[in-house]
């Protein structure tokens, strides 16, 4: 591992410790919901990282279709997988927050439903990559990714377009929205920390994908050699 990678991992771990302290200790307790509101400091940043990963997947898929570049394909695979991991956290922490606040685990409102659909789209994408055979798999995956990404802005806008049970946006949500400055600090530290975790995961998964591609190419080369003997 390169020294710069080790430094980045150490920095991220320190940042995670600090941001956790900010979320659980420093940030003031919300008056209406109480302690459970602190879930927001994990729920929203993980949703942000999932969105970023799916955006990276979209860009990489477009790049792959334009240039047929294996690096772009590897990035698409890596970012989709990490995006699904973070989206899973969002879909679990959301209902854990909802149970004490709403009295129910789940409701089919626009934000929740579109997020579940998003998760299903990218799980489908990963299944396609894993099990499809043939030379067109990467192209097919790229096309699915581009269509699948359409759901990301729908998820983001769902609480603005529709009346939902999900809380209204606290960031960029209009005049009466916003956070207490101490809450803002905790939120931004967590956003930064989880973004760094996302970058580490995507980088690690990207390197793994490149290694797997090398192994596959080596298998093909050996098979060709054997058939020529």
């Amino acid at each position: 591992m390169k020294p710069v990678s080790v430094l980045f991992i150490v920095f991220t771990l320190a940042l995670l410790g600090f941001s956790t302290y900010q979320a659980l200790v420093v940030a003031p307790t919300e008056q209406t919901m109480g302690e459970v509101q602190r879930i927001f400091y994990y729920h929203a940043p993980t949703a942000w990282v999932a969105g970023l990963c799916f955006f990276a997947n979209f860009l990489a898929s477009v790049a792959y279709l334009l240039r047929r570049n294996s690096n772009a394909d590897a990035l698409a695979a890596a970012s989709a997988e990490v995006g699904v991991v973070f989206c899973t956290i969002v879909l679990i922490t959301g209902p854990i927050w909802a149970r004490p606040v709403w009295g129910i685990w789940w409701t089919w409102d626009a934000r929740l439903t579109t997020t579940l659909v998003l998760w299903l789209i990218y799980v489908g994408y990963l299944i396609l990559r894993r099990f499809a055979t043939g030379s067109q798999t990467q192209t097919l995956a790229a096309v699915v990714a581009i269509f699948g990404f359409v759901d990301v802005p729908i998820v983001y806008m769902s609480i603005r377009w529709f009346r939902t049970q999900h809380p209204s946006p606290v960031i960029g949500g209009g005049e009466n929205s916003g956070l207490d400055p101490a809450m803002w600090h905790a939120f931004l530290w967590n956003l930064l920390a989880f973004t760094c975790v996302g970058i580490i995961f995507v980088t690690a998964r990207y390197r793994l994908q490149k290694l797997e591609d090398q192994v596959e190419a080596e298998h093909a080369r050996l098979a060709l050699e054997r058939s020529m003997r």
Partner: protein, 43 residues
């Protein structure tokens, strides 16, 4: 479920899932490295 229990549960989930994913990546990485070594040896 009280607020504090929910907070602890959400916090645990937020860390367990990435840790499991990290373990999965490391296992897969070791397997691929091993496979690469075997392939180089056989060629």
């Amino acid at each position: 479920m009280t607020g504090l229990v929910a907070l602890k549960a959400a916090y645990t989930v937020t860390w367990i899932i990435p840790l499991l994913y990290l373990r999965y990546l490391l296992t897969r990485y070791r397997r691929v490295r091993h496979e690469m070594k075997d392939l180089k040896r056989s060629s």
